[in-house]
Symmetry: D2
Subunit: 335 residues, 4 copies
Amino acid sequence: MTRVAIIGGAGYTALELIRILLRHPDVEIVAISDIQEGQPHLASIHPSLAGRLDLCLEKLSPAEVSARAECVFGCLPHGVSASIVPHLLDGNTRVVDFSADYRLNDPQVFAKWYGQEHADPDRLGKVVYGLPELFREDIPPAQLVANPGCFPTSAILPLAPLLKAGLVEPDGIIVDSKTGVSGAGRTPRLTTHYPECNESICAYNVGRHRHTPEMEQILSTAAGANVDVVFVPHLVPMDRGILTTTYSRPVGKLTEDKLMDTLIDFYAEEPFVRVVDHFPGTKDTWGSNFCDITARIVSDRVITISCLDNLVKGASGAAVQNFNLMFGYPETTAM
Amino acid sequence: MTRVAIIGGAGYTALELIRILLRHPDVEIVAISDIQEGQPHLASIHPSLAGRLDLCLEKLSPAEVSARAECVFGCLPHGVSASIVPHLLDGNTRVVDFSADYRLNDPQVFAKWYGQEHADPDRLGKVVYGLPELFREDIPPAQLVANPGCFPTSAILPLAPLLKAGLVEPDGIIVDSKTGVSGAGRTPRLTTHYPECNESICAYNVGRHRHTPEMEQILSTAAGANVDVVFVPHLVPMDRGILTTTYSRPVGKLTEDKLMDTLIDFYAEEPFVRVVDHFPGTKDTWGSNFCDITARIVSDRVITISCLDNLVKGASGAAVQNFNLMFGYPETTAM
Amino acid sequence: MTRVAIIGGAGYTALELIRILLRHPDVEIVAISDIQEGQPHLASIHPSLAGRLDLCLEKLSPAEVSARAECVFGCLPHGVSASIVPHLLDGNTRVVDFSADYRLNDPQVFAKWYGQEHADPDRLGKVVYGLPELFREDIPPAQLVANPGCFPTSAILPLAPLLKAGLVEPDGIIVDSKTGVSGAGRTPRLTTHYPECNESICAYNVGRHRHTPEMEQILSTAAGANVDVVFVPHLVPMDRGILTTTYSRPVGKLTEDKLMDTLIDFYAEEPFVRVVDHFPGTKDTWGSNFCDITARIVSDRVITISCLDNLVKGASGAAVQNFNLMFGYPETTAM
Amino acid sequence: MTRVAIIGGAGYTALELIRILLRHPDVEIVAISDIQEGQPHLASIHPSLAGRLDLCLEKLSPAEVSARAECVFGCLPHGVSASIVPHLLDGNTRVVDFSADYRLNDPQVFAKWYGQEHADPDRLGKVVYGLPELFREDIPPAQLVANPGCFPTSAILPLAPLLKAGLVEPDGIIVDSKTGVSGAGRTPRLTTHYPECNESICAYNVGRHRHTPEMEQILSTAAGANVDVVFVPHLVPMDRGILTTTYSRPVGKLTEDKLMDTLIDFYAEEPFVRVVDHFPGTKDTWGSNFCDITARIVSDRVITISCLDNLVKGASGAAVQNFNLMFGYPETTAM
């Protein structure tokens, strides 16, 4: 049995994380912290949890959290996380961090894309990127794991095997993603107000989305060469799900069989990646930790199509997968 | 050609009103006021109006509005309207008021349900309730018309003819309404945040919704007796539309033929009420000024089902219908 | 470990049932039958199950199913079920039947509402109605359990305790239900074609829905008196969820405290009924086996509001709850 | 006053066409034909038209239609249209054809993509492609106009000016489109069954969609060079709207200002194309004949984002725009 705590408990990733952890036979949730006024009961913030977990949202210091929990899931915004996590690590707690703060290796890249200096720059470059499909061996010994972004996971899983095998060119890769609205978080804004975004689709943050350098860093590692990505996310009227369509150029002559076989072989032993023949829809992965992938060649262009649930494989499911690896539980437990 | 202005131009009813008025051959929109910072162009607030109406949202005093316009459409919140409208009327402007401020006859009823003293109590009881199907003759000479609430219109249109004809008992009438989210306005709140209200239906303001006394007042007039209503609204994951199901007890022996014939006869000449045999859905009235009605008798209970577009017949379409009657245009112009 | 089979495996209730059973530590799914051509793999019918269960949809006789499984979940249409179930029972298999065939006690009531003679009339009146909250003690020894209808569960759970306690009058109870589209099944029809039912709400089968006699039968048992119900279902643009609003008359003087306390006491020990103070939304129960209930008194009318996931507590979750009771597993296993 | 008829009146494009034509002061709809059994009243097929147009769906021969109408709108499936249209033209009727049958110049290209021989091959290459923004001068004298496909319009409008000006390379253009479900027509299928496509997004017909050669043909004309397109459509859970994101390579050094200015200049006089600075959403064009366009340069890639209502500018609105040009009415009438 492992004692875990969640900091930043009022959002959607925390809710999904709790749902998953409640199914985990070896986890006890001992604390949930947030900055809500008056320490409300969890069920008053998340009514779906009524009768399932009898905890209040407490305002806790990192030291208080560390004293209670062996593992902390950090559901804090970027920028905030890097000011809290070091204190948790000092307390010998292990951390799965959902924020972007520890995903990039280079503090200058962070500063450029996030518009602020990094609060804990010396740690960058030494933190494990928690994508087990690429970095499984680094996760068990890690004290801190940077949980991947939802868009990067959806783009890296289909592209990394192709780049690694040298099947596609590393430059000019186009990543056209479509996401459900929960990815925008739980704070009400006009863009996510129901009558604004329902029955509508739009692009946003074109060329400026902060998940771009994360994709480029991990894909460059896979390619062993500099990868640059044109990333355009779109907001789709649905709760959950990301579908990512990528376009890249093949290296030399490439058949669809070779393309698919490379993906199938790469993921043959993976419990949560399904390489499929049909065109998957996000609903196929709803509520699950799967990422479904297919690929085609059209007019000398390699097209990959991948989908996942942004709150599960794109966030909380991936976090529990990492937790399982860190604490020696079977990787698929609770999923 | 009539010069009109809109006050409170940033919301959904104003947007819908402008869409309708742009189709009106005899209307010139001369001013749109709101309290936005910096007098933004209309198209920056409502992108769908780009290239269609070249106006900015100005901060205007009632006197400035009156000086420009012969008719003002007031899209202000309740409470605010009653502090502005008297000044408009002093300026000899005619007003169609969307707020609830001038719908009730009794200032004490207003105070009880709206939790505040009425700012212009002497006028109450003398303002025309702008439902042409019941009060058409009072509208042309009126300087001020109180535009009906969306839920009341959906409940009054099916029930008034039955109460007037003495077919149903006036007490214990149940009104179970289902509304799209645009009825909640354009201000982002957690309850109308997409991932909260999408894929969910809930009741709200049970027994406390402010449209209750409005229904009771108008239906009592129709019945010539005190009508009391149990009103339960529900929030449905869709942009627009209200479906209202009412349950009442028949007076004596009543056949479904008699029931339907009464409705058909009552609305025989009405351009915007359709009495239909099938069960109408809100989509049948999407974007139109129609209210579709049917009725049944089940286990000695009279059931009416009615639907309309809350932004059109429930707000801006009704307002233009009133405007047409006030200014002598054919009632269906622009609709 | 219990070997189970599912007959009628291509629909939504079967899919949800499989999802739940895959989490059950003591269940082995040994066969899934359906009448699809060519014995397709389960994953080609339900892509979300790819990699999770390696079975094909077989065309199996009742005897073949009985030979393999200790328990059969029957996900067949009404009418069909009563021609298959007797053969399963002859084979000593235990059955949880999702259809309406074994819910009513009286073959004549069945014939009246379902428009056909019952194929197995002698068994009616002797089958357990699988609502553990009312009939828990009858379920463990049963060979055949009739799994309740989704609307009846949503109406019976709030009303039965009130009728049992004599708090509300048994006649003239109004049940106004709102359901997501998955309740209509998986066969494409114009009424459930996306552009027809999206962004629209409508009533259907007013006064004629077949769940009416089921509600009346169970509620009459609870009341010890004849209960009659006016039932109006509505189709809501969402995948899942039922919200039911009921209106009844109190017996004598009744306070809201007494009303709520009666519900709270009745369900104090129930794992899947939550009596809540707020107005619950269907999303609070999404994917779970909970039914959330609240109640109010407005203008001398008792109003209950209840919600559940039609595919879980309204179908497959209830079925697993029954299965757990029948086979001696903890009632909440896999949920 | 022009007498018009519609053939294929039961679908969504016909419904939208009727809605628009009912606002046209100079149009009389004299006949609507379809192959429904029993000549049902229009309102029984399209309940939203109740009380608005008193016509039945008749089974009419081309000669009967020609005898009544000066202009016929053909809302027939591809393949069928080419067997009917020649007879209409023989009858001296003018035709706006919604099908794909007369859009391509080359019968062999048609045969390759549509899997059938063309029924009227000699006419190909002589029919006007009804996109007024590119071919306005050819439309007034035409007897037959091929109304453009919805996806092609959304891709051609942003790309044609850039290709014409030589700003982007003609090869390897990626067109990633997202469409609402009404584009799939009104025939119920599993892929457009509400619980299947709601809350999900998927790609379909990747590299095989029949609108590909149509885009390539028109864009090649604009470019004066061979254009090849990689086209991937996606199905989005919403009724209407297409958003198209294109990716192409700039020719030489290109600034965003130059890019936008080219679009702004090209469409300066167009009533229905709005070049905007923000990222437009499909809701901005809901129910209107507008196409909103913006463009960016990211990592040496030109990105255009465009959106329109697939039933209006993508079908019926464009048809009325063509009709207005053919019959000498102001181009924006009824829109």
